[in-house]
Symmetry: C2
Subunit: 411 residues, 2 copies
């Protein structure tokens, strides 16, 4: 008799985006002429850079001829891509990595979802609140969350690190013992960052407590300020305690093309029940090669092209266009006296809802009075209540129009 | 303190292919002029079909323009591909499937590796022996295998279904209670198949015992004989008990392009601890959408192109070329009086090693006396001892040359 993994029954419904879609659909049905602008999506909208397009065409042509055809590649990724990553994403920042410390994958969602498999089932995890839901959901599936507390709207065994305006969205160190700490910087959803000194506090804590930091830096390309680290490995000692997740999704418009990578330094150790060291890199390599078969060759060639001089300029231009939207939203809302965070080193803006409205009431107000769809902050966790996320991924025209519409609301 | 998943420590080294590489490398170092022919690889070698190439170029061009750009697609795959799969792979065989029963992924290795996550950690699994190692390894990682018994060279808690010449490579039903049964047909490594009536015995068993069959049919495209089912759903009642895994890897040369799909019928149920029904489709949908972000758009367009009239003819031609190799090897070895199996409905040939040699001794003999690299059967499990796998994926010329070389050995 086949029994299921009962942990799945503890998962909370993916309420957020389905509820958004429901309210939006109902509004459109009632108001068929409404011209809705979405600043809710976390997806890119601009075309792929030309350097990427050319590289992908060439790669497709290689697969058309027997002498240049490629079948299975290395599960960890081709050297041409790994070497480009090491050279351009890390060496330029003073970080030395070896080829066997990089694992190319088809997406950071997969990597941040799968990484928990190599750790003990009774590991205590800490997450920021508000938070990208995948960190929590994948640990619920693995049985680490404990029961869901309906009153608290939180899982019993997860340690939540509150990020609100009161602490400038910089969480305090955990009071309880934790084993795995998910940190996301630049942060989704708040758009906020840590300086190198602030990040060092976490690295030092992890070293002192033998924790592992799972550092999601999918939005690294949007960092504009000089004192914000691009990689956690810019912090001394981080190689002993941190796994870093990077993605081409937002950096280069790859959300539909699928490429990311994960860095697992050879210094990083976990412990078996007897307290013996085990190299985390070895465990992840075994997981990656057993359950994954490498990224599409065409995609890997496209990803490598962003490191060419033309590619670099083209992705810089992509980032500039999104960040110009971010500035428009940020300045526009700030000029209305609203409290708006993020948008300086990230494509996300995190708005304190005006008039003390809760997140969903403000969602309805924006939808019905300005025909703008955003994302209620409470959908990312209890500390997101009273906040609202807007994204910089819309078109220039729609972004400007949206700010004008908000200006006309009496907020 | 971060504890690791100790189940990983039970994994047996991926001994097989590293040992092959070691012996091959040593032989070449000692014999630098030897002209080695590899009939060991399970990877395609022919260029991608032209219909696929054209579709991938078009898809790349779509991503180059803002109006046709696509970001995140549905995690389960685009309708254009799902509908083509339903229409051409299933309706033509009298099998009706709905769109929400198909999950497009980046590889069958991922799917057959990940599927166990949705089942209880104490599920008893049954595997054929010899077997594709991923079924076993992913269950070891999840803690279902028990300890490895060095003497038996098997895991204590896994039920092994022996497949040898004595039972015509058709395993008996398990004597013990099992929950999940991995079946692979056409089989890797033996190349053997079941008829519809033979497969029905397994479906009936699973229905009677409330088991789930995990049916890997990655080599379906190579079936030539009329009474061999292409899908387990051709068998009555299979929708209640079977998950089917299909791949474009061998069918269309996609090992480097990455596309596969998994079918989870809506009738398929598992049970919670209280014995209540749970839809397996819902669990897999939740797993797939939480830990995966869809297959590359370019790849999905390429995959859909194999269902066009030109695409169908081109992949049929690919399959014919590999199956012509299979026939050459099969007839060549049989004419020498060797016992050779498979190669009729699969690109794999499974040879009983002559003179009672063990698998590795025969490997060394072929390598040193004929400069041919194959795969020792024992590498796939204890019931593979005394067998040897050859593949039909080499070039025409090398395949013929290899058979001639074997002919000259006094076997």
């Amino acid at each position: 008799m086949t029994h299921i993994n009962e942990n799945f029954l503890e998962l909370q419904g993916s309420y957020l985006f389905s509820e958004i879609a429901k309210r939006r659909t109902k509004y459109i049905a009632d108001n068929p002429n409404a011209e809705i602008i979405s600043l809710g999506i976390g997806d890119v909208t601009r075309a792929l850079p030309n350097a990427v397009i050319q590289a992908m065409h060439s790669a497709v042509d290689e697969l058309a001829a027997p002498h240049s055809f490629r079948g299975y590649g290395p599960e960890q990724g081709y050297d041409f891509l790994i070497n480009a990553i090491i050279e351009h994403d890390y060496k330029t920042r003073g970080v030395e990595l070896a080829g066997n410390e990089i694992f190319v994958s088809d997406g950071s969602k997969c990597d941040v979802g799968n990484i928990q498999e190599i750790f003990s089932a009774d590991s205590i995890i800490a997450v920021q609140d508000p938070v990208y839901p995948v960190y929590v959901d994948t640990n619920v599936m693995a049985g680490r969350s404990g029961k869901y507390n309906e009153a608290a709207k939180r899982f019993d065994n997860i340690v939540y690190l509150d990020c609100t305006a009161e602490n400038a969205f910089k969480p305090s160190l955990p009071k309880d013992n934790v084993d795995l700490i998910y940190l996301c910087y630049p942060n989704n959803p708040t758009g906020m960052t840590l300086t190198k000194d602030e990040l060092k506090v976490w690295v030092d804590y992890a070293r002192a407590n033998k924790c592992v930091i799972l550092f999601d830096s999918a939005y690294e390309a949007f960092i504009q300020e000089a004192d914000v680290p691009h990689s956690i490995y810019e912090v001394e000692g981080a190689r002993e305690v941190a796994i870093e997740f990077r993605s081409f999704s937002k950096t280069a418009g790859f959300t539909g093309v699928r490429c990311a990578y994960t860095v697992v330094p050879r210094e990083l150790k976990g412990f078996d029940a007897s307290g013996n060291d085990v190299l985390i890199n070895d465990l992840w390599n075994r997981r990656h090669t057993t359950k994954f078969n490498g990224v599409s060759y065409v995609t890997q060639r496209g990803a490598a092209a962003i490191y060419s001089p033309e590619g670099k300029e083209q992705i810089a231009s992509l980032v500039r266009s999104y960040m110009s939207n971010a500035e428009t939203i940020r300045d526009g809302l700030a000029s209305l006296g609203l409290d708006v965070y993020g948008g300086v080193n990230a494509p996300y803006l995190w708005l304190k809802t005006p008039q003390g409205l809760d997140s969903w009431t403000f969602f309805d107000k924006l939808l019905t009075e300005a025909n703008i769809v955003g994302t209620p902050g409470v959908g990312f966790g209890q500390s997101g209540q009273g906040y609202f996320r807007l994204t910089a991924f819309g078109s220039r025209e729609n972004t400007e129009k949206a700010v004008e519409r908000i200006r006309k609301l009496a907020l």
